[in-house]
C-alpha cells in the first residue's frame, strides 16, 4: 500500500478528512518556496507542489503569474525534486508530497527518470493535468509509479461523462480521485457544493471506496468545512498561491513570507477539524 492509501484509509477509519494545500514550487523563488513548504507541512496532510509549465492550458491567472515567477527564478523539475527532498529532510515531516504538473516538463525530463526521481526523493503522488487517459505516456507513468507504490491522481469535472469517469477511476492508482467543483479554471469561481454532491454520487456508482478530494474554488475555512462533509479530502490552491503573491508584493521573503502564507493555510486547514 502507498503512503497515500494508508493516509486516506486511516482517515476514513477515524472519520477524519484530509487537507491538501497546493503551492507553486519555486514561487517566488527556490529559497522562499522551501520555507513556505516547510511551514505548510505543519497544517497540510498533503502538499501539492506545482511544477510550472510556461504554456499551461488549465490554470487561473493567479497560478499563471506564480508560474512566471517560478520560471523566471530558474525553477525546473530537477530543482523541484531537490526542494522537496530538502523540505522532507529538514522537517522530518509526515506530510505527503504530490507533484502537480503538465506532461511536457515530465516528458522532457524523461518519463522513466521522472519515476525514478519520485521514488528516490520519496514523492507520494503525481498529478499530470494534461495527460490523456489513453495515451502511451499515461500507461508508462501508471506502470512505473505503481511499481514503486507512488500514487497517480486523475482529475474529473462535472461535465465529464460516465465513460470518462470510469476510465479515470481505472487510471487512478494508490491515491485519490480529484473532483473539480465546477466547470472552468482553478480559482475563478466559488466552490459549487451541489456539483460536489452529484459528482461523488456518480463516482460511487463505479467505485465504493476510491478516496475523493475536491478542489477548485475552495477559498475559506467554512468552504473547507462544507466540502469536507462530502469529500475525503479538500484541496485549496489558488487562494494559497494568491497569499504568496500578496506577501511577495509586500516584499516579504524567506521565513517571513513562509509565516505569512502558512498562518493563512493553517486557518484554512482548521475548517476540516471544526
Amino acid at each position: 500500500m502507498s503512503k497515500l492509501n494508508i493516509l486516506f484509509k486511516e482517515a476514513k477509519k477515524n472519520k477524519k478528512k484530509i487537507f491538501i494545500g497546493f503551492v507553486t514550487s519555486g514561487d517566488p523563488n527556490y529559497k522562499s518556496s522551501k520555507e513556505i513548504m516547510k511551514e505548510m507541512t505543519k497544517s497540510c496532510q498533503i502538499i501539492e507542489a506545482g511544477q510550472s509549465f510556461s504554456t499551461s492550458t488549465s490554470d487561473s491567472p493567479i497560478i499563471m503569474e506564480a508560474n512566471d515567477r517560478a520560471i523566471n527564478s530558474g525553477m525546473n523539475m530537477k530543482k523541484t525534486f531537490k526542494l522537496i527532498k530538502e523540505v522532507k529532510r529538514e522537517t522530518k515531516t509526515n506530510t505527503c508530497f504530490v507533484i502537480m504538473t503538465y506532461l511536457n516538463p515530465v516528458k522532457i525530463f524523461g518519463l522513466k527518470k521522472f519515476v525514478n526521481q519520485c521514488n528516490f526523493v520519496g514523492i507520494d503522488g503525481v498529478i499530470i493535468v494534461d495527460s490523456n487517459l489513453n495515451s502511451p505516456e499515461e500507461k508508462i507513468l501508471i506502470n512505473g509509479l505503481s511499481k514503486n507504490k507512488i500514487g497517480y491522481v486523475k482529475i474529473i469535472s462535472p461535465t465529464n461523462d460516465d465513460e470518462f469517469i470510469k476510465q479515470s477511476i481505472k487510471n487512478c492508482h494508490d491515491s485519490w480521485l480529484y473532483i473539480t467543483s465546477y466547470y472552468g479554471l482553478t480559482g475563478s469561481k466559488n466552490v459549487n457544493i451541489n456539483n460536489v454532491k452529484a459528482m461523488i454520487k456518480r463516482v460511487r456508482k463505479y467505485s465504493k471506496d476510491i478516496p475523493v478530494a475536491v478542489g477548485f474554488g475552495v477559498k475559506t475555512p467554512s468552504q473547507v468545512k462544507q466540502v469536507s462533509k462530502y469529500a475525503d479530502g479538500v484541496i485549496c490552491g489558488s487562494t494559497i498561491v494568491n497569499k504568496v503573491a500578496q506577501g511577495h508584493k509586500k516584499r516579504l521573503k524567506g521565513k517571513k513570507l513562509a509565516t505569512f502564507v502558512s498562518s493563512y493555510v493553517k486557518k484554512l486547514s482548521k475548517g476540516i477539524r471544526k
Binding site: T55, S56, T57, S58, N67, K107, I155, F164
Partner: protein, 414 residues
C-alpha cells in the same frame, strides 16, 4: 466552378495520432485537462457530422466561393521563371494567388469554415488567439458575417504593435483581450484561448493553424484543403498534369497543408516547406522548428516537434509575425518525419529582399511570410536545375500589414 469534394487520404489513428512506424514517434493526440474533454468531443462529433451533411457542405462551399472568393488564379510567373534561370534550365514557375482572398490570406478559409461549424453546432460565441491579427482578422470577419460574438486573445506584447489587421478586427466588432502571461506573445495567447474554452461552454474555440488538440489539426486542414482541391484542378487544367514541386511557407503549417494536402499521395509531386531562419539559424534567433532542431514535445494539447528551452517552450524570433511560432502542426511534423515533406529555411533579410524584388519586378505586394518561400523556392529550383519541370509556389497572403516594416527596410537600404 465546383469545389472538388474532400477525401481523407492521411487519416490519424482513432486516438488522433499520426504515427511514424519506423521511429514510433506519435504526432497529435489530445493532451488537455479533463475539463476540456467534453468541449473537444462536442467539436469533434459536430465536425464529423457537418462534413457528412450535404446541406452544410453545399452552403459552406458556396459561401467560400462567394464571400471568401477561394477560386483565385493559378498562373505562370515569367519573372520568377527568368530569375531562377529561365525555362530551358528550370522549367516553369507558377503562383497560386491566395493573396486575393477576402482578408488577403489563406486563414479566412479555415476561419470561416470553423465559425460556420460553430454556428451549425449552436455555439453563440467564438474564442480564438492571434499573433499578428492575421487569424484574428479572418475570424473577426467570419464572426461578423455569421452573427457570432468573438473574443480574440493576443499577447500583450503583440497587442502593442501597430497593426492594420488589429484595427480591422476591432472594426468588425471583435473583443480583444490582452494576455500578460509568460512571453506575452502568441504561445501564451493560444494557451489563454484554450483556458477560456474551458470556462465558457457556449463558446467554441477556433484555432488559427493546423495545431492544438485533436480534432483541431484535422479540422483545420480538412477545411483549409479547399485551396488545394481547387488548385489541383486548376493546375491540371492549365498545365495538363500535377506540379513537379509545391513550395509553401510553414509557421504552424496551415497554408502548407491547405495546398499540399490533396497532393500527399501524388507520387510525382515533391513537397517543400520553408521556415523562418530569423537572424540566422546559428544565432538562435529564429522560428525554424525543424531547421533549428526542434524535439518532440507536448504543448497546447498536442504532441509535435517543438523548440524547447529546458522543460518549457522556447520563444521564436522572426520578423514575420505569421511565422512566430515555436512548434508546427502534428501532421506536418509527421509528414516531415517520414520524409514526405522536405524542410528548407530563409532568413528575415532574405525575405525582405525578396519582398522588394516582388514589388519591383513582379508588381506584387506579398505578405512577408510568402517571401520566405519565394526565396527558398528559387534557390531550390535552381539546385534541381532540370527543364520541363512545373514548380508551384503558394503566394499565401498580401503584404499590406508589412508595408511599414518594409518602408523602414527600404529607407535603410537606399
Amino acid at each position: 466552378m465546383k469545389i472538388p469534394p474532400f477525401k481523407e487520404i492521411n487519416p490519424p489513428t482513432k486516438d488522433g495520432f499520426w504515427i511514424n512506424k519506423k521511429t514510433k514517434e506519435r504526432f497529435g493526440g489530445q493532451y488537455i485537462s479533463p475539463l476540456l474533454v467534453p468541449n473537444l468531443k462536442r467539436v469533434e462529433k459536430g465536425f464529423f457530422k457537418a462534413i457528412k451533411d450535404k446541406k452544410f457542405m453545399t452552403e459552406l462551399n458556396e459561401e467560400l466561393l462567394s464571400f471568401i472568393g477561394v477560386n483565385t488564379p493559378v498562373h505562370f510567373s515569367p519573372e520568377l521563371t527568368k530569375l531562377a534561370g529561365g525555362e530551358k534550365k528550370i522549367g516553369k514557375i507558377y503562383l497560386k494567388r491566395t493573396d486575393l482572398h477576402t482578408n488577403h490570406s489563406h486563414k479566412p478559409v479555415s476561419a470561416y469554415s470553423s465559425c460556420k461549424l460553430a454556428k451549425y453546432l449552436g455555439f453563440k460565441k467564438i474564442l480564438t488567439e492571434t499573433g499578428a491579427f492575421q487569424n484574428g482578422r479572418a475570424v473577426a470577419s467570419a464572426c461578423a458575417a455569421l452573427g457570432l460574438d468573438l473574443d480574440i486573445y493576443v499577447g500583450a506584447k503583440d497587442a502593442k504593435k501597430l497593426a492594420i489587421n488589429k484595427d480591422i478586427s476591432a472594426l468588425h466588432g471583435a473583443n480583444i483581450i490582452e494576455v500578460h502571461d509568460s512571453t506575452k506573445s502568441l504561445l501564451p495567447a493560444m494557451a489563454a484561448a484554450l483556458r477560456a474554452f474551458q470556462s465558457e461552454p457556449d463558446s467554441m474555440y477556433v484555432v488559427g493553424s493546423v495545431a492544438g488538440p485533436m480534432p483541431y489539426p484535422l479540422l483545420v486542414r480538412t477545411f483549409a484543403s479547399v485551396i488545394g482541391r481547387i488548385t489541383k484542378k486548376q493546375f491540371k487544367d492549365l498545365v495538363g498534369k500535377d506540379p513537379s514541386t509545391i513550395f509553401c511557407v510553414c509557421g504552424g503549417g496551415s497554408n502548407m497543408l491547405s495546398i499540399q494536402y490533396p497532393y500527399l499521395r501524388t507520387k510525382n509531386t515533391k513537397l517543400y516547406a520553408v521556415e523562418s531562419a530569423g537572424k540566422g539559424l546559428k544565432t538562435g534567433k529564429h522560428g525554424a522548428t525543424i531547421g533549428g532542431g526542434g524535439k518532440m514535445g507536448i504543448l497546447l494539447g498536442m504532441q509535435s516537434k517543438v523548440l524547447l528551452a529546458g522543460e518549457n517552450i522556447a520563444e521564436s524570433f522572426t520578423e514575420a509575425s505569421g511565422l512566430d511560432f515555436s512548434s508546427i502542426g502534428p501532421e506536418v511534423a509527421y509528414l516531415q518525419s517520414i520524409g514526405r515533406i522536405k524542410f528548407l529555411t530563409a532568413t528575415d533579410l532574405e525575405a525582405k529582399k525578396t519582398f522588394m524584388m516582388m514589388a519591383r519586378k513582379v508588381g506584387l505586394i506579398c505578405a512577408i511570410e510568402a517571401c520566405y518561400v519565394i526565396h527558398a523556392a528559387i534557390k531550390e529550383i535552381r539546385k534541381i536545375g532540370k527543364p520541363k519541370q512545373n514548380h508551384l509556389i503558394h503566394l499565401c497572403g498580401a503584404g499590406e500589414p508589412n508595408v511599414a516594416q518594409m518602408m523602414e527596410h527600404m529607407k535603410k537600404n537606399k
